[in-house]
């Protein structure tokens, strides 16, 4: 696909090899899409779709909603790409759009403390039934804890601790100050821990 695209460019005398080397490996692709080469958008997706799906699922807690969010994110990205300033790192810009889409979809879904998927207990291989049960119970608990956080804290925690962005990057993506990110993730970590401690300390009556 990419090769074919390059061949087309060569035919038209627009060699992509003439570009100045750039720091962001995605910038080359962004440039090509901006130049009207729609097919290059697939390359951009290939490089970033894992990230977008992951962010969306972790924020929304629902697989199908996350897939919808990822799709909407890319359509928005494609529409907004003409206004994207080259030289700016692409991925944080993309993630920022994804977070906004998640907020929109989350609002549309309405208030629901715990997304359905986070309550599911999918069967998974474990060394014993009891171990499996406890593991799933713990997963469910942690997901409930995350889903119960205020949206700002949840997004900050997802981006900082789960996606591994730096505090400064998270601040730029969320449009808040780094000091706010720090206090949000600190609060979120403490809440998750307290939530788990409270419920895991409780006697486990419902064992199989």
């Amino acid at each position: 696909m990419l090769q074919a695209t390059e061949a087309v460019l060569m035919e038209e005398g627009l060699s992509p090899l003439l570009e100045i080397p750039v720091a962001d490996p995605l910038e080359q692709l962004v440039r090509r899409v901006q130049g009207g080469e729609t097919e290059a958008f697939e390359g951009l997706m290939l490089q970033t779709e894992k990230r977008v799906l992951s962010v969306a699922w972790r924020i929304l807690g629902d697989r199908h909603l996350a897939e919808d969010a990822a799709q909407e994110t890319y359509l928005r990205v494609f529409r907004s790409l003409p206004g994207f300033r080259l030289g700016e790192p692409f991925e944080p810009w993309l993630v920022r759009i994804a977070v906004n889409v998640c907020y929109d979809l989350g609002r549309k879904r309405g208030p629901r403390a715990v997304p359905i998927e986070f309550l599911e207990l999918p069967g998974e291989a474990a060394s014993s039934a009891e171990e499996s049960f406890l593991l799933q119970q713990r997963r469910t608990l942690v997901r409930q804890g995350l889903a119960g956080l205020p949206p700002g804290e949840r997004a900050a925690l997802v981006l900082r601790d789960l996606e591994g962005f730096s505090t400064e990057e998270v601040a730029r993506m969320l449009g808040i100050r780094p000091v706010t990110v720090r206090s949000q993730v600190a609060s979120a970590r403490a809440k998750i821990q307290a939530f788990c401690a409270r419920l895991m300390a409780a006697p486990q009556g419902g064992r199989p």
Binding site: T38, R63, V185, A190
Partner: protein, 198 residues
């Protein structure tokens, strides 16, 4: 004498978010205080559980499906970026999309009229027995794009006959939005839209 407890700093320390001097002071306290050490252990555990529980469920086929859906929408012109090198193609795409939208609108209006024959001036296949999703392109539209989906347009569901139906179609160019206003007329008159019928 022991320094004050550091419980409120632990959530930052646990992920390395404290500056070096604060970190040193906190760790000095931890070495002396079993209570704060236990709290640090609990936080370390819950952070590990968080990472384990939030491992995304998506596999390669999920990503491929996403890519296919997005590229389909982009390439069909429903969201096509105005390429400066292809103005003709773009206008054709818009014309195709317009035809499809117009067709589905007309179909809706027709459907609302019981047992009326299709108006002769309308594009051929709009029989009321046919679903609106894939109307045949008219001869003027040389590049039919079947996936210029009506679903991308915000179309009101079955507009009542008395009120004008409004269809908005946002092109990829934020400055270009196509809006149809269609008023259902008595059957003898053709349906009017701001666009000329193809």
């Amino acid at each position: 004498m022991m320094t004050p407890h550091v419980l409120d700093q632990l959530p930052l320390w646990i992920e390395g978010d404290l500056a070096a001097p604060e970190t040193a002071a906190l760790e000095a306290h931890l070495s002396q205080c079993p209570e704060c050490r236990r709290a640090a252990e609990r936080l370390r555990d819950s952070q590990a559980w968080l990472r384990e529980a939030l491992e995304p469920p998506f596999e390669a086929p999920d990503r491929q499906r996403l890519r296919a859906r997005v590229m389909e929408q982009i390439c069909t012109g429903a969201t096509a970026k105005p390429g400066p090198r292809m103005p003709l193609r773009r206008s054709l795409l818009l014309a195709s999309a317009a035809t499809l939208l117009l067709a589905s609108l007309i179909w809706n209006l027709e459907r609302a009229r019981p047992s009326r024959p299709v108006h002769p001036g309308l594009p051929a296949p709009l029989s009321s027995a046919m679903p609106p999703s894939r109307p045949e392109p008219t001869p003027q539209v040389s590049r039919p794009r079947p996936a210029a989906r009506p679903s991308r347009a915000r179309s009101p569901e079955s507009p009542p006959l008395a009120e004008p139906a409004r269809i908005e179609f946002q092109t990829s160019d934020p400055a270009v939005r196509i809006i149809w206003l269609a008023q259902a007329k008595p059957p003898s008159e053709p349906i009017q839209t701001p666009l000329e019928a193809p």
